[in-house]
């Protein structure tokens, strides 16, 4: 397997990306191709003391930054690490691509270059999010601002397949985000999607309200990309605030510092539950080849997990399974 990695994407590129790839190459035994400025990448590989043969470099002179407008960047920055990586994936010069770069550009590029699976209406971003009990997949986390009932139905099918094949959850529970539990509540798209989801052989448990999401009431949370992105970022914001408040509580004085030591393990666990960046990358569901969006602030360890996730996606034939099932219902 050859894993294509955008070496220049994200806040900590390329240093942390390179470090994560070295760890992954050593542990997983697959080939990794780092795409980006050859000199800089070589330097970082050298600096990290890597002298194996599993990491290759593909030169790309340009970089798409977080501020670049996605469509323009993909069309104009033809020699950017993100674009070159996607071109390689499209041509079969790799099996999966991982990037911590510009999310919009990755989604746009994956749609335009790698293309959608036949029958898939929209590519969805599907971050894995922490919950009180385990975790859940949020589809769509922001790829599609507006999502019709037909899109929502496909998000549910793809999300369900992901949780079953990659997270090994049998018969994953799928919930549709709404603002009440009554059948006819919500937007037209949501009520129509509710009808569609009842007719297909997934474990659809009905509407889910915001209150039930953090408990882990379902394994797949389906919603339009606007709502999903607000949930994703609101959770991130609350995590940051609560961590900062806990710090304030525990670092107040000597007594509270001692208390902190006494509950250290538990508080660390809580911190992990509040930090969705701990949960690896977000797969792009619906492309003809697997693509993983690693969090923009990924450090080496987070990126290492995103690579493991990308390997799982290839080994478990995620794309084929989606392709086989998406047109059935």
């Amino acid at each position: 397997m050859n894993i294509i990695v955008d070496a220049m994407g994200g806040d900590n590129a390329p240093e942390e990306i390179v470090k994560g790839c070295i760890m992954a190459a050593n542990d997983f035994g697959e080939i990794i191709t780092l795409v980006g400025k050859k000199d800089i990448i070589s330097e970082h590989l050298k600096k990290a003391g890597y002298n194996g043969d599993r990491i290759k470099i593909q030169n790309a002179e340009e970089v798409i930054s977080g501020d670049d407008e996605p469509t323009t960047a993909i069309r104009q920055k033809k020699d950017s690490s993100l674009r070159v990586g996607l071109d390689m994936l499209h041509k079969g010069q790799g099996d999966v691509m991982v990037s911590a770069g510009n999310t919009g550009a990755l989604i746009t590029g994956a749609t335009l270059i790698v293309k959608r699976i036949k029958g898939v209406r929209r590519v969805a971003l599907a971050p894995l999010m922490p919950a009180e009990t385990g975790c859940f997949l949020l589809v769509d986390g922001g790829a599609n601002v507006e999502s019709s009932a037909a899109f929502l139905k496909q998000f549910a099918i793809m999300g369900s397949i992901y949780m079953e094949k990659i997270m090994h959850i049998k018969n994953p529970r799928v919930g549709l985000v709404n603002i009440g539990s009554e059948e006819e509540k919500g937007t037209e798209d949501v009520t129509e999607a509710n009808r569609l989801l009842k007719e297909i052989p997934i474990n659809y448990t009905g509407y889910i309200e915001g209150r039930e999401i953090p408990c882990g009431a379902v394994d797949v949370v389906v919603c339009d990309g606007f709502t999903g992105n607000v949930i994703l970022k609101f959770m991130e914001g609350m995590g940051i605030v609560i961590k900062r408040m806990l710090k304030g509580i525990f670092f107040k004085n000597l007594k509270t510092k001692i208390a902190a030591l006494m509950v250290k393990g538990g508080i660390n666990e809580l911190g992990k539950t509040l930090d969705y960046t701990e949960y690896g990358g977000a797969p792009l569901l619906g492309c003809t080849k697997p693509v993983v969006k690693a969090h923009g602030s990924s450090n080496a360890k987070a990126f290492y997990h995103a690579i493991r996730q990308s390997i799982d996606m290839v080994n478990n034939n995620l794309v084929d399974t989606i392709s086989e099932n998406i047109n059935k219902y």
Copy 2:
């Protein structure tokens, strides 16, 4: 002033409602009219030892439950506490109404019976939510599933007036929920609302992403009712989960219990920040008379705060100020 109170609405009615009203009658010196089953209310007043003359009772034989379909309930349950209370408010037999009952029925009833201020396109539910620094008003928290740009503009104006007049925040910062900071990002309604909000004399600070909301980046968070309701309930759910996890951490063994005692004050403060029910009721913005939705799970103290809030709304001429400003821009 005469405050009309739905004595039968909410999870803890009528006992906690009656208790809260007794506290409020004693402290604020206004007349309170409890609407509901006379015998039961009298019994609770007696049980609580109330023998003042500031609390009146208006009999109403029916009760609208949380499961009732709002429009049907308002039309058919003509002798329900909620409907009778709104009728009284409409007829001028009271100055403000407070209810912890069925949210949908209260919004529908307020719109149909008390009616909208001339020029107001939609009534909005505006819960006050806790943030790291202070609190913010969420408009709309769920009254309008879909909200056009014109609605969003009015939510911003009404929310801004509320925070200025009732919460005494000078020049309140107003943010519009979106999934990015770029001008053209988001739905058509949101980008159009962004243009409209720039043209009016409120302190509009632009788009706000989910991440910035819990920090208290703005005083008024404007969004459609679907997104607002998801935010509201997601925050509630996260609060419940985090409190439960903290309990688990601190009640594990003797050592952790001692640690709990050492940081008790701080943890209690954190608990309050996580619990939006602590923040009083949600005003309905845009009606010709002030209406306050108290949280369904309100206890006596929460209801007491909702009554204080309703008095503030009357004393500070909220309705008149909205009426004077809503058609100006």
